[in-house]
């Protein structure tokens, strides 16, 4: 691929197909109030979509993460959530605990 073709592909194949949803979001959000029922519902849909992405990234892990056993990945996610709830609802504490659990599990049970 030439330099120009690579950038053209970036815009046509990467940027536009992704960005169109943001532009549609701008159009749909016109006239909506923050506390309207439809915004509460849309936020619930967005949150549930995010939950599905999280579950998918954990269970059907990409790249080298797939080499870590599934049980270790699930245990590490649970550890992160538990640490978050126990340690002052700190996101950082949750992320660090989850990462440590993942690495410890991978070392113990094979990565």
């Amino acid at each position: 691929m030439t330099e120009l073709a690579a950038y053209l592909a970036l815009v046509l194949v990467g940027f536009l197909p992704n960005e169109v949803w943001r532009w549609l979001g701008v159009a749909f959000a016109r006239g909506l109030e923050e506390d309207s029922e439809i915004v509460v519902w849309v936020r619930a849909v967005a949150t549930a979509t995010l939950a599905a992405v999280i579950a998918k990234l954990t269970i059907f892990a990409p790249g080298s993460l797939a080499e870590v056993p599934l049980a270790v990945r699930l245990g590490a996610v649970a550890t992160g959530l538990l640490a978050f709830m126990l340690i002052r609802r700190s996101v950082l504490a949750g992320v660090i605990a989850g990462e440590l659990a993942l690495i410890a599990g991978a070392l113990l049970f094979g990565a």
Partner: protein
């Protein structure tokens, strides 16, 4: 006890800077840094240029879409096929933008002023905006969110370059840990933001329904999970309101 005071109205520049500062102190600056080291390395391994990789982070600004784009184009897949896969991964941005914009605009906000915050909308920025914007004067929220977006993006673009440079020298366990940053940080930060019952239910139901749909090989499983679990959570919320 005095009533909670209204946040002061700042100049646009000061609100933007407040957003930048919020980005630096956000755990997502570090999470994105780790995640984008992986994406930079991926771009290198598939033969893209450093500048291309950095521009892709600025333009696409969505981790999953970039992974699909880089691995798809790099492997020589048909452009149309890659564009469709990228677009499917981006649908989730629509409800996120629709949920965010009403929170940050005023009656005087013009539509074109919302295009930039909409572009910055990605899971990291969305989660942090929903948490922080209510603490900012409404007049300042667009500028604040732009500052937050620029700050988070700066971290990601820097990491794209760092990962590009490090590529191939990263041990497997480290890249596994970097890839794990995304699910664990999304889960914990979404749990932190879910203060209303409807949001907690949507999170819990999505975590349960998502894998069920994925294992059941439902087409567009992520989108269906969002609609089904999100609507169920909203229905439970309405039912509870009605019974009160």
């Amino acid at each position: 006890m005095p009533p909670p005071s209204e946040p002061p109205i700042l100049t646009t520049g000061a609100a933007f800077l407040a957003g930048l500062r919020a980005a630096w102190s956000s755990v997502f600056s570090y999470v994105l840094f780790g995640t984008y080291i992986g994406i930079g390395a991926l771009a290198h391994d598939f033969g893209f240029g450093l500048a291309w990789a950095m521009v892709s982070t600025v333009l696409v600004w969505a981790g999953p879409a970039q992974v699909i784009l880089i691995s798809g184009l790099g492997a020589g897949a048909a452009h149309l096929e890659v564009a469709i896969a990228v677009s499917l991964s981006g649908v989730r941005l629509l409800p996120m933008v629709v949920a965010l914009l009403p929170l940050i605009k005023t009656p005087a906000t013009r539509t074109w002023q919302l295009v930039l915050p909409a572009h910055f909308t990605a899971i990291s920025m969305w989660v942090e905006s929903l948490r922080l914007a209510p603490k900012v004067a409404r007049e300042n929220r667009v500028a604040f969110c732009n500052g937050l977006g620029v700050g988070l993006m700066a971290s990601a673009v820097t990491a794209t370059a760092v990962g590009f440079g490090l590529a191939a020298r990263l041990p497997t366990l480290l890249t596994a840990g970097l890839l794990f940053l995304t699910p664990v940080s999304f889960l914990v930060s979404t749990a932190r933001n879910a203060r209303m019952l409807v949001d907690r239910l949507a999170l819990a139901l999505g975590l349960a329904v998502g894998p069920a749909f994925a294992f059941g090989q439902v087409e567009f499983d992520v989108l269906w999970t969002g609609v089904v679990a999100g609507t169920a959570a909203y229905g439970a919320h309405r039912l509870r309101e009605a019974l009160r």
